[in-house]
Symmetry: D2
Subunit: 499 residues, 4 copies
């Protein structure tokens, strides 16, 4: 059975950040949303948007581009004061980079306006969309956020409040969703029962509540972190205060995305009470235990390999050094300016410090390998700079399988681990040796990072174990939900036959 | 009973232009749509868009701005070849100038993609939207085009083809709609049974079919005009050729918008077989018959008063002169650049030729008066230039009532005719005399323009009278359909109570 | 002897508009300059700029684009209040469309800032530039305005005031220059002794003085027209009032550009006291006298042929009709969007009204013919619309020679009149007959337009004849100044050998 | 005596980067200049530009913005192939951020085109400009690059080649200039005899020569580093090969800017044969020797304090940790979006890792302190995150005096060191202790970094000592050249009196 349009299937794979604010007083909240999104920019650099609620009227601005590009001073000035605001940053594959897909999604329905900011992917999107379409639904976007909007508004016709409607919809949604939702009078934050994606909230000195994908955005706006949402929890922020609905909590196995710890989240964020930086440092320590090597110095691939490199150096006693300088202006805006000059992308982004590297045996630590081509270019660059040996250490297991919960992993045939032994991988990237973590190490690094940590915030419920359960499906093929059949296929053999 | 959001009510009042092409071969059709929209630009200067269909895959670009601004060379180059294309130009009130409302509307549903370009307004939009929302529909836009999209796609679930679905939907749609619709394999053009808004089609030398709001766009792309659609007709353009469905034809009284003849359409277009220029010239002749005056020269207010001024001059024997020069760079982009300099907008746009005007008794012909403030400024400008007498002649009756079929007429309390006698109106605009056409004259000007004209194209069905029936509701309050109750009201007394 | 860089030679051919204001009080003058430039937009659509003087500090904005595009609300808001402001609109050939060449030109020198807005071209630019370069001057632009700036600032080192310096510079400048110049404390308006290009001034109700290329811009800002500058006059506007320096007046033969009357100026402007519209109407009357024809109706090519067409109709008794509709959105922004669709540019811009044209013998009046290809396309368009005969009448003589004073006339080999008899020209454009004015008619049309006119403003000096002397060099090859040798040539055979 | 316009004085303080290429064959060199400028972006983020020389014709693009913003794919595509190209990145104070001041400066003169890219500031700019203005020169910009252009072109009138002219001009130029100059056929790189600013060259595999401010840009384009220019050297790149003119070498004391080592240059660049990273690491080691402290961990202020922090950690044995995370999207585009939310800028840019910081005694290493307010905010942030003690260590001496050679140092009254003892400074920034390097340490850190280094490239001349002589004027008030009197003053008491 072929299920979906090609472009729809591609769009399912994305990573995003959400931010919301509920203020007891009408005030200039747009700058707060702006700063929150700025702090979450690493979760999505392709498009961004915010919606401001002024006495029930919604004003919004969304566009392709970084927060600093989209929200010019003119745009900011045009946004009104408000009590509630919600924002979103988004990454998506190229073909899907349409303004129509920018979030927050805004809809009008029987009971008023609704704005939704979503991080994650539904694993039963196809089935739900089929059902909705057979019921007469039409879709403007190719994102599954629109499916959630339909589910909630249809429930709203039969339930007396938006939170009741949202709870009823949660019954039918499967997969990953950390969601901030804004009605004319309320802000709702909700997290799927598996807890795939992060979501937390805090409070500003003004008394306003703020919700965010990561705690670093609370820090950026000067808010005090309160706690992470429990998997399956829905929190309602309204003029009546805040209210927690936990009827879906602890109904499903907790499977927090391990790749949030490894790569996605900012090192200064806390997830399930654990410092991301600490977890990565522990990954580096574990990596040394699994794959020790005799070398002269340890360097990290900027920026994502630095924390683990420091851990590796600490555990091994090999000196930590700065060996690669990243051009800090390389961003989303870097476009290869001409076909004639076949430039080496890695060379543009990273430059080795020859005086550090030359004649040395190097341990190079990075967070992950996808295709291996970038690692190979990096290793060649270090050899040109005079490195005597290069021992690559990766602070995660090899990818072997796709993600259905919001991470855009390359298709299986391109993954370096597909059909290659560890030695063949090392040869492919031209490293003297190569080491990964084992899938089991992921839990270990959390346990270790948790020792002596103040990681009680999300663990307040004594019924929960000390560390979060992890989703490791991309490393093990062991999926915590049923996965959709026939994805990445066209619904119709020949779309021109269908109508 | 209060029905709708404020912004929704405002959005109902708009004027638009539609254009489509169906080519037997895949080719560069985007430039053809571009030229068609350029020729229809006068029907909507706020936003524009086009969707190109390449083997069932839709590529689109829409934005606020004029055709020449939105479709830059880079944008045009990025649009693919295709067999079918549809485009739209749109005018809307300021508050509604959102990218989300730009057309063509694109949706995905059970049976594939659909793109719709719509001109007109449904008079039963509120009732239909209510019904759809109660059935679980959500709305992204505030335009009634989305309602039509829902109606058609819901029918499509039960009917075997898009044309059958569209015909079934027409059963329930009331009001004005001239629509071009694109499915993965077909282009549909349809016109409501009243025939409120124009729609015609023709053929390119290449064999491609083109449909357009006005015939001037067929001329612009080098197409041969074939005929206008009959009121109630649906024409299907497909690889099987063209097919006309007339089951709704002649089911309702034909009420073509008289203001299309008076102002909207380009003078070089033909509507119901009549040259718009000829009709306006006849309006000028009639105006002389109704309100003759002794004067030295006749001038028209550029550009919309020129055709009727020529007719008035011809009938009266008073010389036609060029007395006002319009700054041809004043367009949508003119923004009053500073609050300090309270400039006279009319003075910026129009400048009298003193040597023509000074010492003369002037007949000034314009197409219509809304509030009267612009006419007064214009008359003052002519007096400053030395005019001895100014006799204003208007080639339409006074507005007295709102339009529910796609024309944005000012609210009743602002209309110059509200509560004023003809003499009071003349005094208000500071004219020496003032004359309007009578509502009955509208039919007369068509009959006269039709004499000796080759106006058989749309009149091919002998059952139809020689001239189109006209909608004159804005001049008479005599509406051809039932009109919606409670428009321009908020649905909720207090929107914050609702959810 | 080869004289100049290729791009410099090309840049000599341009047409521009200048505008300035001197206010006794500091106020928001930027919007006044904006409106003035808007009214002069027809004199240059490629770039524009303004400089505002706030207590001797200059703030400026210049860019490629129309006034309404370049001066966005943000830009306007950023411009400060001031006492003096000067603005410029510019046309130049494509290769020269650089921001560096945008005017007003701003320079810093020994005695302070200077801003210059210039319309015209020096005929001794090459000689002056040579001399300056040998004295060590460097040039940033390719325009001769920079030469004027050098001349004035070098004189300023030896003369006690900017006006004395400017007068001293005028001694050496040859050719066409209507110039507005702003120093930290004064505004100067000056016009070359031949009076090639127009320049006038007036006064606002606030007491501020405004100077402008054409009187239509005075009307647009609500200023009272005072008078045109005399050829050779320099007027100083300062806090001490206004002062006229006439030592160069009547030193040279007055040779006002006849093409200003024929095409450049707006019909609502007055030049040498004559209404441009009146002059064009007289051209139409003369055209009928020279080349009468038996026909059914007279139409003008919009917009520049309309005034003369009305005159032709009036003189001949043949009815004047509107037969061609111009797409009023076609402007500088029209870019042919694709190479695949070889569209007919004339068809995009103009559309005949078939009901007016069909079966008729047409007199088609236009202001001039350059290459003849556009006229031929237009005539074909009218034939397609059913015209029985087309008699083309041109309200100027044929071009035979280049202009060295600011008009960009096509090179000789492309001019339709080069090597063709009148009949051959008619055949080339496919007209049934063709008629031009004679060069002598240019003076006649002024004399006739002047009869009964209030054209005393610039003629206040009794020593001047009733009508301006005209430059007709482009029609006669009889140049009023010596003309530069070797223009349009590279200075160096091989530029790579030179340095 | 008051010397200069206010804006001119402000403009003297800037830092820039230059890049050039000379290719034996015509090729697509614009992408190479693009990549070179991208690697030099840290030297100037305000504007950038490049000029491409195609057979003696210059094509250029310059604008405000980052390289990736200014050089869009469209702009890159429009730039032609060429043999020679020169590029520039620039920083300047806000008031001066004009397009007119963007470099490379392009001028036309007697002998052809010239393009100049300049890094540095002349210390005798005022005197030279006075002399030039008295000779009739006019200035378009407020930068001293235009002075250099005048000097060279005036010499060119008397000297037979551009290189002879440049050498003659060098006789009169005082202060800092690292310059790349392009004539129709040659590229010149020259460096002032003091060697204030860096300049080096290398070669591409294609045989093309590239010159650059820093070696990191040679790495980025894949060029092999050859050597740095000697202070006072001029290198000519032409079709005849390369030629070194050393008549000004060793004529003046070498005074290389010490702040290039401390802050400006990228750590992966080599200056005078020394790795910038190594020098900074030695600064950290020296800092430990001068100001040891008992602490738990060492952290660097990202990014400029990281290298020295690593050195401090290494020397002290105190563990190096990552304690502050920088938002990597904060760039030039970050604009405080609203006045209502008085956000803490430091909080937006940097976030402490609480789990690392809490309860710890921290050594915080940064490169320099200007006003001290940022340091204070940073220290408060660390205290909020739970730091027990904070010991600030600065890898440079305190600023006490302005720079006249191209560095924009705050005015004396704002510098933290003005009128404060070390302890008062520590109290001001709220640190538990504070330590700076001594001015003498600057030479020591170079000597140490040089030991065992391959730093022979620029030291090839045996007459030169092993390490560069340094300019330390901003730390010592001991200026290597005479310094201009009366800078930062208006030339005229009242500019309105002057003209």
């Amino acid at each position: 059975m072929q299920e979906f349009y090609e472009e729809k299937a591609d769009a399912l794979h994305e990573e995003c950040g959400v931010f919301g604010i509920f203020s007891p007083e009408k005030e200039r909240i747009a700058p707060i949303v702006y700063h929150g999104l700025y702090a979450l920019q690493h979760r999505g650099q392709e498009s961004c948007g915010m919606v401001i609620n002024h006495d029930g009227l919604f004003s919004s601005h969304k566009n392709l581009g970084l927060v600093g590009e989209v929200f010019t001073p003119e745009v900011m000035q045009a946004l009104p004061e408000g009590q509630i605001g919600v924002g979103h940053v988004r990454y998506a594959t190229t073909g899907d980079a349409k303004i129509a897909n920018c979030q927050p999604l805004e809809i009008n329905h029987r009971k008023g306006h609704l704005a939704l900011a979503h991080n994650g992917n539904l694993s039963n999107a196809y089935a739900l969309r089929d059902r909705l379409e057979l019921g007469g639904a039409i879709f403007h976007t190719t994102s599954d956020t629109e499916i959630i909007a339909y589910m909630i508004t249809q429930k709203r016709l039969r339930f007396p409040s938006i939170e009741k409607a949202a709870l009823a919809a949660m019954q039918e949604l499967e997969g990953a969703y950390s969601l901030i939702l804004m009605s004319p009078t309320k802000m709702l934050a909700l997290r799927d029962p598996h807890g795939f994606r992060p979501l937390c909230y805090g409070r500003l000195p003004s008394g306003a509540w703020v919700a965010s994908s990561e705690s670093c955005a609370l820090d950026a706006v000067g808010a005090t972190f309160i706690r992470e949402l429990l998997p399956g929890e829905l929190v309602v922020f309204s003029s009546a205060g805040i209210q927690s609905c936990r009827e879906y909590c602890a109904k499903k196995a907790e499977t927090f995305c391990s790749f949030e710890y490894i790569y996605f989240a900012r090192p200064d964020s806390h997830l399930f009470g654990l410092s991301v930086h600490d977890v990565r440092r522990q990954a580096g320590i574990l990596l040394h235990e699994r794959h020790p090597v005799d070398a002269d110095l340890v360097i990290g691939a900027p920026d994502s390999g630095l924390d683990a490199a420091l851990g590796f150096a600490e555990a091994s006693g090999i000196p930590y050094r700065i060996g690669l300088i990243k051009n800090k202006y390389i961003g989303r805006t870097f476009i290869e300016p001409g076909q004639d000059h076949r430039s080496d992308q890695v060379r543009i982004k990273l430059n080795p410090i020859r005086s550090v590297i030359a004649g040395k045996r190097i341990v190079l630590v990075d967070d992950s390998i996808v295709r291996g081509t970038t690692s190979r270019q990096l290793i060649r660059l270090l050899r040109e700079a005079g490195a005597k040996e290069i021992h690559m250490r990766i602070s995660s297991p090899p990818f072997i399988s796709p993600c259905y919960y919001g991470t855009d992993i390359d298709s299986k045939e391109h993954l370096i681990a597909t059909g290659r032994s560890l030695q063949e991988m090392a040869a492919y990237i031209e490293a003297d040796s190569l080491g990964f973590l084992d899938p089991e190490d992921l839990q270990t690094m959390l346990v270790r990072a948790g020792r002596g940590s103040d990681h009680t915030c999300a663990r307040e419920d004594a019924a929960l174990s000390a560390c979060p359960g992890l989703c490791r499906a991309c490393f093990t093929e062991d999926y915590p939900t049923s996965i959709p059949a026939g994805t990445r296929k066209n619904r119709f053999e020949n779309p021109l036959d269908s109508i």
